[in-house]
Subunit: 250 residues, 2 copies
């Protein structure tokens, strides 16, 4: 049974200001929820049609019917469980390796995919500009497929962050007129890669702080494709940085 | 002014069977529509609030109000123009280069992104299994951002297609236990790359026809990411095949 207040709380968490106020976010689906539990996230409430699939404290677990879950869920096909987790405190920063920074990425699906890519490529530090979509937005949480539990994400004034790092770090950014990424020098030590907004790319203010402009070459006869989606561009860029290490080591 | 019959026709084109029956598909937005016109697609009807932006025959062009366009459009923010184009006849096949084949990709956004990637990486031949989402689905058309006009897409019995090509072509497929793509031999001549379904990957029947299994290496300490999204995996794979040519040539 789900109370009116619980429904109201869950509904409010689709908005960033209430997530911030309650320090809670929504995760849906057995696999995703269990990944957050395993990663040490603090469970606040669990609503599920299959409570035997979770090893959690009874006081936190509400058995619900499929109809009730459907009312709570924003997914087209509800995933047997919806949980509220506490938004964790930020971990200590470690910028010694490869850091990814996002300059106003606005689409939740793109941010979710990028977080999953960070997890895949072992990038644990993700810096988001203040205008980047909130990583605890339910659509982002679902798109990360659990990777959100393994990547440290910080929302900072990106200009200020890069100004602080520019003397110790190399700052890369993708531009159409950059050096071809295949042959450009790339390092995974004290390096920051900036990826830009879907429509506008990297903003002029941030561009001034980029020390190494790189480009993903385009192929074929016509070369009319205007740009790559920011998530697919990120996958190519992270792959290029990591492959250098891989091919050196083996 | 939009007639009731025109509204009905446009609405019906959201379903594959009516697109097939009428040989028409929907494209929205000034840029996308002009790319189809420039690429030689046959315009059937254009509904726009800004007819001065198009150089098309008056008999095909209907000036509409924003309110009318909103009724026709499936986009959250209608894009000033909606057009119906004829679905073109298939061009002659040319499988001598790098061919991409999709084994039941089901998400329209993923197929759209993959078509855009083919365009970027100069892959003009895309083979889709019969179960792959229709490339003239309006969501796919929008996600391709005009790239659909530059990639030849064929829906075939994928098993039969690969059986026909297996004696002359190398057939690559991505699997978790494949050879690392960085060091695996890769050729862009008479090569087919198979990418699998979002949930199930490459099906067992198709797997048997793959001659070269490749894998995208995973990095970091935990390596718990289960898989990459099929569109981001495709971007990495196409980049890896093309970069070999690029770095050899330069």
């Amino acid at each position: 049974m789900v109370s009116k207040n619980q429904k109201k709380l869950i509904n409010s968490l689709h908005q960033k200001k209430y997530r911030k106020q309650h320090h809670l976010f929504i995760a849906e689906g057995i696999k995703v929820i269990n990944e957050f539990i395993d990663a040490g996230f603090v469970l606040h409430r669990l609503f599920t049609t299959e409570d035997h699939l979770f090893s959690v404290d009874n006081t936190q677990c509400y058995e619900v019917t499929e109809a009730e879950l459907k009312q709570l869920s924003q997914l087209k096909t509800p995933q047997k469980a919806l949980a509220l987790f506490e938004i964790p405190k930020e971990k200590d920063e470690n910028y010694n390796g490869l850091v990814l920074a996002l300059d106003d990425v606005s689409d939740p699906g793109n941010l979710g995919t990028i977080i999953r890519l960070c997890d895949w490529f072992g990038v644990t530090e993700l810096i988001c500009s203040k205008q980047t979509v909130d990583c605890y937005n339910p659509k982002v949480v679902q798109a990360t497929m659990g990777s959100l539990s393994r990547v440290n994400i910080r929302y900072l004034d990106l200009k200020q962050f890069l100004e602080e790092q520019q003397h110790s770090h190399t700052i890369y950014g993708t531009f159409m007129d950059g050096d071809p990424i295949y042959t450009a020098s790339k390092s995974c030590v004290k390096s920051i890669i900036v990826m830009g907004n879907e429509a506008n790319g990297i903003s002029p203010t941030i561009e001034q702080l980029v020390t190494h402009k790189i480009a993903i070459p385009r192929f074929g006869q016509l070369q009319l494709t205007e740009s790559l989606n920011v998530a697919t561009a990120t996958s190519i860029v992270l792959n290029e940085f990591r492959r250098a290490d891989f091919t050196t080591e083996t």
